[in-house]
């Protein structure tokens, strides 16, 4: 167990390095720089050149790259051109909302997905099964931004139950602690649903198939022969082996969740990593783009590592292999 974890942690470093290098190349090779995005009519060419020099943008590419890398290795991510403060501080502000959103979405994904799959697998090809299959397929085919739009249309614009965007209401600071929490949850529900529903549909589809497979296996036959109740067989004996592929899919789905939150954040004006990346890329704020990509990539790769470890916990066979 520990050995697998250590080995995987070691491979994490070159991967993150690769992602960061690709990002650097993309941002640098693209036309335009931060100095150009300052579209001020009274900015003379000389002043622009000075500005570029003051940010170190006039140095050769290789030097800029090595400087950034050396600083990043010591934990210094530089300071953002756009926000005029350390990148670490900007990320520190943007990370909690994204974690909250992605975490809630993942919980919804797993919770709803497992419940739906269990309901469907109780009686295969019954009406519950058919209904969840059709609904799941429908949600799978719809883009998450479309679902987000529909949720806004129905629950925010139509019924007026929930707010359509942002994380807090105006003047939320004056509410009591409970009031603020309720306000936050009300703002969280729609974005988390639009992100989580798509995942839940995929989870339910996969888990239903593996549950049906487990149902046909000999250990379920043996459990039935021992006179165990169908509920116990489904929840205890079938669920554990059936969850294995779900865990793997979960690790692979993490990049999707991170990317999906970029989209959903932009729909709901959620002040997270996605919005920050968006603004940073538009302004060619290289240090911020690099910092955000570094944290994003590390999070995704760490997530898939955790999924691997969970797999080893759930399946004794995987512990002895590699």
């Amino acid at each position: 167990m520990t050995r697998i974890a250590i080995r995987r942690l070691v491979t994490l470093v070159p991967l993150v390095w690769l992602v960061v290098t690709v990002t650097f190349l993309v941002v640098q090779l693209a036309p335009g720089s931060y100095a150009d995005t300052l579209d001020h009519p009274r900015l003379t060419p000389e002043a622009r050149q000075n500005l570029r020099a003051s940010y170190g943008l006039d140095r050769p590419l290789g030097e800029q790259y090595l400087r950034w890398l050396a600083a990043a290795a010591t934990g210094d991510l530089g300071s953002s051109y756009l926000f005029k403060e350390p990148v670490a501080k900007v990320i520190g502000r943007a990370l909690p909302p994204t974690l909250l959103l992605a975490g809630t979405a993942l919980l919804l994904d797993l919770g709803l997905g497992v419940l739906l799959a269990l309901a469907a697998a109780r009686r295969p090809y019954g009406w519950v099964d058919r209904l969840t299959t059709v609904l799941g397929l429908g949600i799978y085919g719809l883009p998450s931004f479309w679902i987000a739009g529909l949720l806004i249309l129905v629950f925010a614009l139509g019924l007026g139950w929930l707010p359509a965007s942002h994380m807090h209401s105006v003047g939320a600071g004056e509410l009591s602690a409970t009031g603020r929490l309720i306000d936050l949850l009300r703002h969280l529900l729609l974005p988390a649903l639009s992100l989580g529903l798509v995942g839940a549909a995929a989870t339910a589809r996969l888990l239903r198939a593996t549950l049906l497979e487990a149902r046909a296996s000999r250990f379920v036959l043996a459990a039935t022969a021992r006179g165990l109740s169908p509920r116990r067989i489904l929840w205890v004996h079938s669920l554990r082996p059936a969850l294995l592929p779900v865990i793997t899919a979960f690790g692979l789905a993490l990049p999707m969740v991170v990317s999906g939150s970029v989209v959903v954040e932009s729909v709901f004006s959620w002040p997270g990593m996605g919005m920050a990346l968006w603004r940073a890329a538009e302004a060619r704020d290289i240090p911020l783009v690099m910092g955000l990509t570094l944290v994003g990539a590390a999070a995704v790769i760490l997530g898939s590592l955790i999924a691997d470890l969970l797999y080893a916990v759930a399946d004794p066979r995987a512990r002895e292999e590699r």
Partner: protein, 313 residues
């Protein structure tokens, strides 16, 4: 339903959508548009188009004859037209309504679908080409090549791909060819894994050994023994991947990062409709449904192909 039956239904649905998008604009001509009176007509509205002598058209829900002239009324707007200037009067049905500029949504959907489909299909070709080459090279190139290539695939799979794609699109402001490169260049990994696995498992089969022993040259073995056995799994994978690419293209276009705003695609239509949600629900709903229909059709097609190509399942 049997597997063959499902294949038929899914295949017909996908083929109808594709044919509609590719051939539709050639066969069906869009009804005349009018950005003033004819804007934001709801679905199924029947409109009267009055062609005027200066070449413009007034498209109205209702036309009343009054002593002051013809009063044309649309969605909350009205215009008075001098009857002497009207050269022709035609009636049209707007099946899916009209957008803010008075354009027929159905027509836009067909034109936009053409571009969405073309981008997805071309990136798919690119992904299969890269993935196929990498997969075959890894399976046949010896241990070292295999290890290096597969580590690369693993690394690419661990990337937050859409994250990078959004980043690249935000900085590069792509035109359609670059978009194809971006989409295709980030979705070949699955194909590579699949092809490598298939080639490795085929190589251990007796009929390949028999072909080799009988002295067939390598290109003959590749073409007549490997290729036919690769078509099934790859095409099934392709159907699913195409759906993912349609979604990815829609997402980028939705964010305003895909094709330029002047070119309609399903994703950018949803984006524009989203902004106009309070004015007309149909602007966002129909392109979204078109995406869903295509993606679901492709998923069912992939599923049916899998059932057909795996006799044991």
């Amino acid at each position: 339903m049997t597997a063959a039956g499902r294949l038929k239904v899914a295949g017909i649905a996908v083929a109808a959508l594709v044919a509609g998008c590719v051939l539709g604009p050639l066969v069906v001509h869009p009804p005349p548009s009018d950005p003033v009176v004819g804007a934001l007509q709801p679905p199924l509205a029947t409109v009267t188009a009055l062609e005027l002598d200066d070449g413009t058209t007034v498209v109205a829900r209702r036309v009343e004859e009054t002593p002051d002239g013809l009063i044309a009324t649309g969605a909350g707007r009205r215009r008075v037209v001098d009857p002497a200037r009207v050269t022709a009067t035609t009636r049209h049905r707007l099946w899916l309504g009209s957008d803010r500029f008075g354009r027929d949504v159905l027509d836009q959907l067909l034109v936009g679908g053409r571009i969405s489909l073309a981008i997805a299909a071309l990136s798919l070709v690119l992904a299969v080409a890269i993935g196929g080459t990498v997969g075959v090279a890894a399976a046949t190139g010896g241990r070292l090549v295999d290890a290096v290539l597969m580590r690369c695939v693993d690394a690419c799979l661990a990337f937050p791909v859409l994250f990078l794609m959004i980043l690249a699109a935000a900085v590069l402001r792509p035109d359609p060819p670059l978009l194809v490169l971006l989409l295709g260049g980030t979705s070949w990994m699955g194909v590579a894994r699949l092809v490598r696995g298939q080639v490795l498992s085929l190589r251990a089969r007796p009929f390949i050994a028999a072909a080799r022993v009988s002295g067939s040259p390598w290109h003959r073995i590749a073409l007549w023994h490997y290729a036919p056995n690769l078509v099934g799994p790859v095409s099934q994978d392709t159907a699913l991947r195409m759906g993912d690419l349609v979604l990815a293209e829609a997402t980028l276009s939705y964010l305003g990062l895909g094709v330029p705003p002047s070119v309609p695609t399903w994703g950018s239509m949803v984006a524009q409709g989203h902004r106009a949600l309070p004015e007309g629900w149909w602007l966002a709903v129909f392109p979204g449904l078109a995406i869903a229909l295509l993606v679901i059709g492709l998923a069912l097609l992939g599923d049916a192909l899998q059932r057909l190509t795996e006799p044991g399942a």
